[in-house]
Structure formats: C-alpha cells, structure tokens
C-alpha cells in the first residue's frame, strides 16, 4: 500500500466513525421495495444504489430534501430524514459490493461502440473515473440499469435535473442528441 492509498484508507476510516452503516441499513429497509438489494431492482426505473459513493448518495438525498431535485416519490421520503440518517444511509450503501445484473449477449454491439466513443469524446471518465466507478459526489455508472441511465441523461438534457453547484452534467449533455443519450446509457449499463 503506497502512502496515498494509506492516507485514503485513513480518511475513509475517519469518515466511517462519524456514520453508522448498521443504522443506515435499517433506515434503508423500506427503500428496498423500489431500489432492490442490488441484484433485483423492483421499480420501473429506480436506480441500483449498491456501491454508490457515500457523498453522492448524501447529496442526492439533500437535493431531494431541499427540492433542488424534484421527484414525487423521493421528495416526501427524503424530507423525513435528518442529517444523521442521511450520513448513515450513505455509509451503508457505499459499503455494499457493486450490483451485478444478469446480462445476456449484447444484441446491439454497434450501440455499445457508439456509446463508448461518445464517453471518450465527452471526457466522461475524467470525473466518473476509468471503469465509471464514480467517487465522492460523482456516481458510479458501470452496471447501472439502462432505463435509469437514460432517464437521468434525459432529465439533465431537458433541465428537469440540475446537479450541484459546479456539476457539469447539464452542460455536458446539452450538445448530445437523444440517440447519443441512448447509446451512452446502453454502453454504461453493460460495463462490469
């Protein structure tokens, strides 16, 4: 382990002390109905949340709570959470292994290829990192449900979703066509 990794491990340990993943797990129990446990999502387009970065989970809950991000289901749920609940849920979800949806053969390899090219040309990995595993307030994209990825991209494009203070998503997707968004969603959903 090099020094950078050791420092990262230390700061993760320090952050973990402040939050209680077990309490987060209990709090997340009612959420399983839509979000599933990682392997078996239930709702139409609810995202898989296992292994999402801690601060990403927390920021989205704060955005829902302050109605910066609007959703008929999530707004009332988030408004019943206090700061400690939000920290605990973030700690719990980020501690889970990444989701592994069952995937058949890729029926649209051209779409996958187009999505990969778009991801490169638009510098997606600069923030989401190689492998699209996310970090900090930036979400994991690899292996997310395709329908949810497409919804999120379309919401950024339409302005329905803003992102954070300097978040680049509305600007990043603005020049892309809907075909492009579909290609990106398909490519990212098939990543492992």
């Amino acid at each position: 382990m090099n020094t950078a990794l050791a420092a990262a491990a230390l700061s993760t340990a320090a952050a973990a002390l402040a939050a209680d993943p077990a309490a987060g797990k209990a709090k997340f129990e009612p959420c399983l109905a839509c979000h599933g446990s990682g392997a078996a999502p239930q709702g139409e387009v609810a995202p898989l949340l296992a292994a999402q970065p801690d601060n990403f989970v927390q920021w989205q809950l704060v955005y829902f709570r302050t109605e910066t991000r609007k959703d008929p289901a999530m707004t009332p749920i988030s408004q019943q959470l206090n700061n400690a609940d939000i920290r605990n849920i973030g700690a719990y979800l980020s501690s889970l292994p990444p989701p592994k949806l069952a995937q058949g053969k890729d029926e649209q390899p051209d779409l996958t290829e187009a999505g990969e090219q778009l991801a490169i040309a638009n510098h997606c990995a600069s923030c989401h990192l190689d492998g699209f595993v996310g970090r900090d307030a930036i979400p994991r994209l690899a292996g997310q449900r395709e329908a949810y990825l497409l919804k999120a991209l379309r919401d950024f494009k339409s302005g329905a979703r803003r992102g954070g203070g300097v978040a680049a998503m509305p600007d990043a997707v603005y020049p892309l066509s809907d075909d492009g968004l579909q290609a990106l969603a398909h490519y990212l959903s098939r990543l492992r």
């Binding site: 950078a4 420092a7 230390l10 700061s11 402040a18 601060n55 927390q58 920021w59 809950l61 704060v62 302050t66 910066t68 700061n83 939000i86 920290r87 973030g90 990969e116 090219q117 490169i120 040309a121 638009n122 510098h123 990995a125 600069s126 923030c127 990192l129 900090d136 307030a137 930036i138 954070g164 203070g165 300097v166 680049a168 509305p170 600007d171 990043a172 603005y174 020049p175």
Partner: protein, 417 residues
Amino acid sequence: MIRKPKALLGIVALAAAMVAVPGVQAQGLKHYDSSKKSFWEHPPADWFLGDETAAQKGLAPKAPPATGVPLDEIQATLKTIKLPKGFHISVWAHDVPSARQMAWGDKGTLFVGAFGVGNVYAITGPEGNKQVKVILKGLKMPTGIAFRDGALYVADIDKILKYADAEANLDHMPAAQVVYDDMPSYTSHGWKYLVFDKHGWLYVPFGPPFNEGIPPTSVSQIRRVDPATGLAEIRALGVRNSVGGDVDPRTGDYWFSENARDWLSDNTPSDKLNHISRMGEHFGYPYCHQGNIPDPKFAMGHKCSEFTPPVLNLGAHVAPLGMKFYTGKMFPKKYRNNIFLAEHGSWNRHVYQGARIMRIVVDPKGRHAKQYVFASGWLKGKQDFHGRPADVIVAPDGALLIADDWANAIYRISYGM
C-alpha cells in the same frame, strides 16, 4: 495521451502538425462561438476540463460533505488550527450550508450568501447562541451579497437584486427589485462577489465561462455598477475568475483576488492579488499568467510586459476567494490595514494547498507586498479537507469572522481575552 481510440488518433496528429507550422497556430486554438444565445445559456461543456494530461486525469473539484460537518468534529478541527500567539478561534455559527460572502446589516445581523444550495441566510442573536435563518431560497448561486443603507443586495447570476429595508423584515423579505441585469446567464465562473465603494457603487466581477480561451468581449472583466441608476463602467480587463476583493480604506482603490487558469501544471501558474490603480487596466488573462508566463497556446504574440503585473503571486491553485482590509481595533496595531484573505484550497493539483487564512502586508500603491500564513490546519495530508475558508469579514468588535462552505460554519478569530 489519455484518449486513445484509433478514430481520434488522426485528429490529434493533425492538430499537433498544425501547431508546429508557423503562421497557422491560430487554427489550433480552441474556438468558442459566443454569437448565439445557446452559448450564454449553455457554456462549453469542457469549461473546467478538456486540457488535462494523462497525469492530471481524475483531478476534479471536490464536493463538500452534503450535510456539512457535525459540530463536535468542527470543534475537534478548531483545536488543531494554528494561529499566531494570542489569537483564538471558535465556532460563531454553524449549519449554514454552502456559506460564502458575508455582509453586516446596520443592526448587527450577519447576512451570508451561498454557493450550491441557492440560499441567503440571516444570522442573529446573542454571542454563543446565534440563530441561522434562511431568508431567501431558490436563487442561482447567490454567493455575492452586499448591504448598504438598510438594503440587502444579492447577485443572482444574471441580475443584481435589491431587498429594501431587509433587516427589519427577516421573517418575510420584501419583493426584490432588479437594479442591474446587463449580465450573462451562465453559472460557470458566473458566481459573484459584491463590494460597495464609498460612493455607493458596486464592484462586480465577470468571469469567463471556461478555463482558458479568448473570452467574449463582455466578460473577463470587473465592472463598477451604480445600483441607484443602473449605470456601469468597466474598471479592469483581462481578469479570469475573481470572487474576492475590497476597497482600500487608505485610498479608495479596489484590490481583488484572482484564480488563475487550470491544467498548466501543479506548480504554475500562481493565483494572484491585484490592485486597480487606474481605470481600464488589463491584468493579462488569457495571454499572460502570474505576470511572467505567456500562455502556451493563447499568448498569441503578446508579451507579459504589456499587462499589469500582480501585486503578489499567492501560489498555484491556492484558490484565493474573499478578502478584507483589517479596519478593526481588537488586533495588535501592526495588523491595521493588512489584508486578510481566505484561500479555499486546491482541486487542480495532486497535493492540495491553501484552505487557510493569509495575512498580506502591502503599501497603498501595491509595493513591498509580503504574505504570512495567519490561520491554517483545515487541510490534512495531501487532499483531505476538514474545512474550506471562503470569505472573511471584520466584526464590529474587531474580531475576524470566517465563512467555511465545507463545514457549513462561521468561525470567529479574536485576540487577547
């Protein structure tokens, strides 16, 4: 190279060849078309990316903790803050999400603007029991606020709003009056800092909506705006992202901090402290950085000697934000008219620096500038923030308040008992 798909290799090689041929460099420059409305509503998607090398990949602005830092952790951090002998730091208020620029009301209310969450706060109550009230919400990055003659002024990205008789109506703010709106609508480097001069005009920065490029001619400048009439003038040109400044109590001149371009390297260019000594001075962006580095692509034949040099180079990627001349009487005499400056700390550097309060001693003409670290300790290890100072203000009793938009807190630094 970080991007290595076969299809793009040819384009990269072509761009390199163009740069190598004398006389056609201009074709290799990044071009932004600002002639259409879409540019102002949707700035370039690469506004803080696009020029990074493979070694720089993964550097990105850090998001603060979504729920701030719990009070007991803030208290623990303050125990580790280094200050000169005789100074003390304490929590003055907390749970102030995204706290940025501060301004005093006439009756002792502290108004605070915010970065991401769109709020403006009023903090009232006795020392030791400060109450934080959200008085405005849903604004666009209202970092910049100012107060004068009973009215609160808020920069809402593309307009400056006035709330008359604000301090008497904290529970129900009056309707906003737009006092100035000749401003672009993008948020990228569009957030502001507002400073009144003694004539009642506001200094207002206009940053370019990208990292490095030839800016549209109406931005990369500092204007002086009269909110009473809507008249405005351009005071400074060639300014990148400035979100801090103050009027010198000795002369009435405007001084400002400036964030230099990113992606050049970890150690260059330096961020700057500037002084406007005459109207219309050009401070170098995008042609020249830190007074002596012509931009590798965008110098376009200009020499650094054509531009006003900085009063002081503050260091690379320290991110200087709010600043104030010290006009209080609590601190020892040598602090009088010194500049206190909040460094927000790095993101575009592998080993962060900044996240501290600097003290700068400089004469009224900008000569003999020296800087000293005044308060530090919010940055631990290479990249681990425990707080990020974003603004400073002198309290009526002479103490120095610090806004921290990472911990969501306001601190008070006092001297003596």
